[in-house]
């Protein structure tokens, strides 16, 4: 019996040391001394949530329809090219509803004799990705992107966006940023940046779509949208669009004009291989020197040689930045002069080298906690925890006398194990998490009370000390299991459903309850057994 006890005590001390280690060092190698006091080591492995250390939390929704739209724009251009090359007549290839249904393309004006030729040409080239239907009496065909291809494109867009955001956020130098897909299938991304307080800077960095595009100019500049519409007879054809901007250096940099541009860009987005800031040697103005990929270079060369004397507009982030006359064919590099700010140029260069955002982002949720408000919360939470723990400990000593020490030791061990769990698992401590710790203290004490009350009953019924302790534990065990399981069930549901801070609460509660199962039953038992062994004959359990 005694040897058994000694073994158990060794096990308990072992557990204590393991979790102490975990709290301070987690899974890393230990470092003693150094320039940081040990208490700082403690907080290094237990990550503080955003509500405690301050930071930015964003939920973004990727407008995947835009990426689909870009893809189908390219397909429209390719279909036109293919039909021209095959010398098949058509009146137009267009998207009837580009905003809401970017996946649908229509070809109209097909003569009935050529209709089957057109169908088979399209089938041979596009049937992997598109469904082709129609060919009835109305001389038109519908080409629609297949749903599974569209879904794959959506997913790829989200993944690409995540990569691009990750790259850009890197420049902020945030330690442990969180950038990941969020929610169930709604194209949402979660971005969490601890320690940053300047939300505006983060948003500019992330959201500048800076889609750099070059479009053919149909008309402009006009002073406003009405004048622009009037120039095309009041009805804007579906392959053209109105874009605001200030591309004319002569009228000064901030005058807003409206241009009528071709909707499909000549080169855009990923066609650009790089962009570097430069200065114009004559005017000292900021410029952007760009290069295109080989494929895009060919396309650009073709276009510019066929359109000498026409204008093209450089559009950045949906605004016209410069309008240039095509003086000669350009292949794959050039310089854009425009009214760029220094930030814009820097961002543009970074964007083009890390990749342009495939689609725009909408913010669904955005929360920032300033660092000093965060540390206020820590202070308050810790004060509450300390007061709570002291109250409980003192009460247990008064009410249960010697066994009160037992309970307090168990409580202390509970806290160490809890901190160790958190250190090992790298879990995040949030303000509700601190509340969870406090709650665990209150509920943890419950198991002790259950056992102690039972032991008191058995003692009152006249049982000898060791039998009383035995019976007390035996009867209390079922109840302890039942109560812990039910609370852990609610905590697990909270982990699934909750957001950051709430999840932190549920995690600390679960760890605390698990720790409690160990200390209340195993550790308490060992301490009681030791105490009972040391009792002189006739002495009663101190409870």
């Amino acid at each position: 019996m005694k040897k058994n006890l000694r073994q158990k005590i060794v096990i308990i001390i072992g557990v204590l040391l393991v979790f102490l280690y975990g709290a301070f060092f987690g899974f890393d190698t230990p470092r003693f001394g150094g320039d940081q006091p040990m208490i700082n080591q403690l907080t290094q492995h237990i990550h503080l949530g955003l509500d405690l250390q301050g930071g930015v939390h964003l939920i973004l929704k990727v407008q995947v329809k835009e990426a689909v739209g870009t893809e189908t724009d390219n397909t429209v251009a390719r279909i036109e090219q293919d039909l021209k090359t095959a010398k098949l007549t058509f009146s137009q290839v267009y998207k009837p509803d580009p905003t809401n249904n970017p996946q649908s393309i229509r070809i109209e004006g097909i003569t009935s004799t050529q209709s089957s030729a057109v169908s088979s040409l399209l089938d041979s080239k596009y049937s992997n990705e598109y469904d082709i239907s129609g060919g009835g009496n109305d001389n038109s065909l519908a080409v629609t992107m297949k749903p599974n291809i569209e879904k794959a494109l959506d997913d790829k867009t989200v993944q690409n966006t995540i990569e691009v955001i990750r790259d850009r956020v890197d420049t902020l130098g945030v330690s442990e940023p969180v950038i990941q897909q969020y929610g169930l299938g709604d194209n949402q991304i979660l971005v969490e940046l601890p320690g940053i307080s300047d939300l505006d800077r983060v948003k500019t960095l992330i959201q500048s779509t800076a889609r750099l595009e070059i479009h053919a100019v149909v008309g402009g500049p006009y002073p406003d949208e009405q004048a622009a519409l009037a120039s095309v007879g009041g009805n804007l054809p579906t392959d053209e669009e109105l874009v605001h901007g200030s591309g004319s250096m002569a009228t000064g940099s901030d005058v807003d004009s409206v241009y009528v541009l071709q909707r499909v860009a000549i080169v855009a987005g990923t066609d650009f291989r790089s962009a570097d800031p430069g200065t114009d040697s004559n005017t000292g103005q900021r410029t952007v020197h760009f290069t295109l990929t080989n494929e895009a270079g060919d396309k650009f060369y073709e276009y510019t040689s066929a359109n000498v004397g026409h204008s093209m507009a450089v559009v950045l982030g949906g605004r016209v930045k410069e309008v240039a006359n095509i003086e000669s064919a350009i292949r794959d590099s050039g310089e854009i002069r425009g009214s760029f700010s220094q930030d814009e140029v820097a961002i543009l260069s970074k964007m083009l080298s890390t990749g342009a955002l495939p689609a725009t982002l909408n913010y669904l949720e955005d929360r920032t906690v300033g660092a000093s408000l965060g540390s206020d919360s820590i202070k308050q939470g810790v004060t509450a925890a300390v007061v709570g723990v002291l109250l409980v400990m003192v009460f247990m000593l008064i009410y249960y006398r010697g066994s009160g020490i037992n309970a307090d030791l168990a409580l202390f061990l509970n806290l160490v194990i809890l901190l160790g769990f958190m250190g090992f698992s790298g879990a995040t401590l949030t303000l509700p998490g601190i509340a969870g710790v406090i709650l665990t203290i209150g509920m943890g004490v419950d198991s002790n009370v259950l056992i102690f009350e039972r032991i008191r009953e058995e003692v009152r019924a006249g049982k000898a000390p060791s039998a009383a302790v035995d019976q007390g534990f035996a009867h209390a065990w079922t109840t302890i299991v039942d109560t812990h399981v039910t609370t852990i069930v609610s905590a697990l549901i909270l982990i699934i459903v909750g957001n950051g801070p709430v999840r932190g609460f549920a995690v600390t509660l679960t760890f605390g309850l698990l720790a409690n199962l160990f200390t209340a039953v195993y550790v308490s038992r060992v301490i009681f057994d030791t105490h009972v062994n040391n009792l002189k004959p006739g002495e009663l359990v101190s409870i």
Binding site: S197, K203, L364, R367, A384, G388, A435, R456, T487, L509
Partner: protein
Amino acid sequence: MEFFRSVSVDWLGKKWYFLAFSLIFSVSGIISMAMHWKTIGSPVPLGVDFRGGTEVQVKFSQPPDISKIRAAVEAAGIHDAKIQNYNGSASDEVLISLPEQRNESALDTGRQVVVTALREHYGNPFADSDVKVDVVGPTVGRQLEVKAIEATLLSLAGMLVYLWFRFQLIYGVAAVVACFHDTLITLGFFSLTSQEISLTVIAAILTLVGYSMNDTIVVFDRIRENLRMSRRESLPDVVNRSINQTLSRTVLTSGLTFLTVLSLFVFGGPVLRGFSFALVVGILIGTYSSIAIAAPMLVAWQQWRAGSGGAAVLPAAKRSKV
């Protein structure tokens, strides 16, 4: 020291008092929630997590003047902002709430406008690190509402199944009814005191469901044990005895947990106030419901079964395996 050495109270005899007490609180809670529904469209005031919108909390270096702040914000074009002191009227913190924004792409402008207006038109300085902003779009708010309700119902269902498995169906039903009662009264209190429900409050409610269940199980466990030991006592007597035997433990645990939660309520700061309020009310009601609602339900069921001609079977539990 011992509080309840040999208690012998006839709990079941007082069940009508308990019922009246519960009814008073439930009904006033329900009436208050109905009134809230008519005025603001939801039974309890919803925090920004659920209703969406923008909330800016700023800590100024000098005591803030609410009317000047309102003037500054209105000068920037925002007219229906709600501005109030945060964390007590003596503190330097102010909470500015803007209404729900339907257009997700314009979601952030409110925040920018408020912060700029405060910097430019209202001279009281504050740093970026003294600002806390919550901007929640309508989609997220709605999603969260649905999730929160799902989570609560799922929790209750899970526990019903667990109790059915460990005891008998009627035990599970009685326990779940008690938890429902607790949730209803706690929400009623929020409605009566016009406090906001945020996601952390939902966490507190789920915790109190777990806690109330805890408490009920302790009593049921003792009833099951006593039923096994003595087949000759009537059910009401067994139930009364069980409650009396566990009273010491119940009061102690509730008392201690209540103390820790009270410490949270007093010292924990404004962020946790809703959370700790829910727990303060919840722990008291949770303890009460095990004695006043769950136990009498067991007896009532038995009596109803006996009265309607079914065999007078004591709802003795299945043999426990542990």
